[in-house]
Symmetry: C2
Subunit: 360 residues, 2 copies
């Protein structure tokens, strides 16, 4: 089989070594004669999977002891409701930083439960999309928390800094988690849908500071209650066991790769290779300011949009798949999460160069 | 490898043919060079998986056109909140029939949103657990709906009849769906966690009559809103694509087996084989009245509970696994969902007979 480089924005490619291991033990896991997905989530065998996954994740992210790690369902979309339901407490307002599509989606859902005060952080500087530095985000203690999305997958926008605030900082890290080191202790809640840098879709990771567990609205559905899930070790409801197992394999793979310091360096290298190729060209354009360019999702437009279809067709023929941009913005988008290799990005850059030479 | 018969109550065994197919195409699905879990849920390839699964499910259950089929997350536990949030409308009360642990769990969650009026349907008749016939369930139009759980997995209790009522009937069919024919048109909402008779854990099926889509409370989290999920073809949030795909394979397998008429006959035969063996013995006891015995979950106690550990140990050694009863009731439980073969039940009966001869 020809080498396939999968640039899907999500559900995204998983590490090849992980997928090969999962395939090899798919119907006979640990000699049990069954799949890991066919055993009770309360069996000793699965409890070990769950505990190993949490331990490895804590190690990778250096999660402090006063944070709970929850393995939930419903994706970031469920967290858009869970965050206000769990964190508002007595307050009526929360600060939402708007840097793109996903932040706006969180705001829309939050309106069901509170008054989200929106800080529009998008600016055009010299024609490029730029994000207001976090030090300028004005907050106030009338807000229950500050919510932002550090990586906007559709817009290809990344926020690397953090505000200095007493508010609990809540971050939707769906597409950036585990791609670089972070200081978890700066956050109140971190959440992430799994289907980009963690594992398959259907699993959602929540990391929550334990002093925030007692604010939950009485009408919070139990499956969305951080406190309930924490008390039940994420087994209040039957968890998505196969997704949890597969995510655990990804965490072990990340450790084998050398951890997040190594992944961060690799991701910087991959992104630089692609952005440098775009910037060196007259044919490809990315319109995000360099400080705010996403290292995970690289959108770019062709100078001749009428060639979009041909570009995608020829790329696919070369094994470079899922490069079509989000329907909201068009053009191309290369998602280069942890599982994308440097070789894959190089292959894309080579193809782009060749295509440009033929059609510029 | 020795033949393994897996009696897990859930996550439960899946059909062997389905697991073998999923393994064979795990890292190269449909020649794409990627797994089905590594592609966009909005790709043409996955849309076809989703549509095929829905079409096959509709065919198996003869779902009328005025019902929506939703593929959700969060399990039955999420539905315990979703049902009142979506169906109460202007009403404050709903009727909940209590026949065991899961009905009670639904009631506990419903109390967050309404006044669940509880009808205790459990009776002891000649020392056996019996369920009040549905024709005697008194309802009233002050209730928004009638909720019940037709198969209680822990207690091994099944309800085969339906009340005659104008209320929308809501049924938690997690452990009985697809095990026998049902008349969907009699129900307002049917929901089921996948991990027993559908597919892996992490997927929840909801079948809802379309006139019930407009009652949703404004504070319903969007991921739990039947209307939102119906409008977005269950892709409001990124769905658990691998679980959806695998469930689709199970639906195709059920069709190949001959559909639900054939499965129902097979399930009656399997259950009869096991209950007859229990009743013919002085050593094993099941204390549910014959009309209410579950054909999916068969709990039984040993006359000498001190032998429970030995029974489990020897059964496991013979490849008969996951027979330990739920921690709430102890003893044994054999879950014999669709994927359990008649040969598996026969092997269990043979072992039980042999164990009894040695230890009675």
């Amino acid at each position: 089989m020809e080498e396939i480089y999968n640039f899907s924005a999500g559900p995204a490619a998983l590490p090849k070594a992980v997928m090969q291991q999962a395939q090899s033990e798919f119907i006979d896991w640990q000699g049990l004669g069954t799949s890991v997905m066919e055993i009770s989530h309360r069996s000793a065998e699965f409890i070990k999977v769950a505990e190993d996954a949490e331990r490895d994740l804590r190690e990778l992210l250096s999660v402090p002891d006063n944070y709970k790690v929850l393995f939930c369902q419903g994706g970031a979309r469920a967290q858009f409701a869970a965050v206000p339901l769990n964190l508002l407490g007595d307050k009526k307002k929360a600060l939402y930083v708007d840097a793109g599509y996903w932040a706006q989606s969180a705001i829309a859902e939050a309106k069901k439960y509170c008054e989200p005060v929106v800080l529009d952080a998008k600016e055009l500087v010299d024609g490029k999309v730029s994000i207001t530095p976090a030090e300028k985000w004005e907050s106030s203690n009338e807000f229950a928390y500050l919510h932002f999305c550090p990586n906007e997958t559709i817009d290809g926008v990344e926020i690397n800094d953090l505000p200095v605030t007493d508010l609990p900082i809540v971050a939707d890290m769906s597409s950036t988690i585990l791609s670089r080191r972070i200081d978890v202790s700066k956050y109140g809640v971190i959440y992430a849908g799994a289907q980009k840098n963690i594992g398959p879709s259907g699993l959602t990771l929540v990391i929550v500071r334990d002093d925030l567990l007692d604010r939950s609205d009485v009408k919070t559905p139990s499956v969305l209650s951080y406190k309930t899930l924490a008390e039940k070790d994420s087994m209040f409801n039957t968890p998505p066991t196969f997704a949890w197992y597969l995510s655990g394999l990804v965490f072990k793979w990340l450790k084998q790769m050398g951890g997040l310091e190594v992944m961060e360096a690799l991701n910087i290298e991959k992104a630089a290779l692609l952005y440098d190729a775009i910037d060196a060209s007259e044919f490809y354009v990315n319109n995000v300011a360099s400080d705010n360019r996403s290292k995970m999702n690289v959108p770019f437009q062709l100078a001749k949009p009428e060639l979009d279809g041909l570009f995608l067709e020829q790329a696919t023929a070369k094994g470079l798949v899922s490069l079509k941009g989000h329907r909201a913005v068009g053009g191309m988008r290369a998602s280069i999460y942890n599982a994308m290799t440097l070789e894959g990005v190089q292959a894309l850059v080579d193809f782009m160069h060749q295509f440009e030479q033929q059609h510029a």
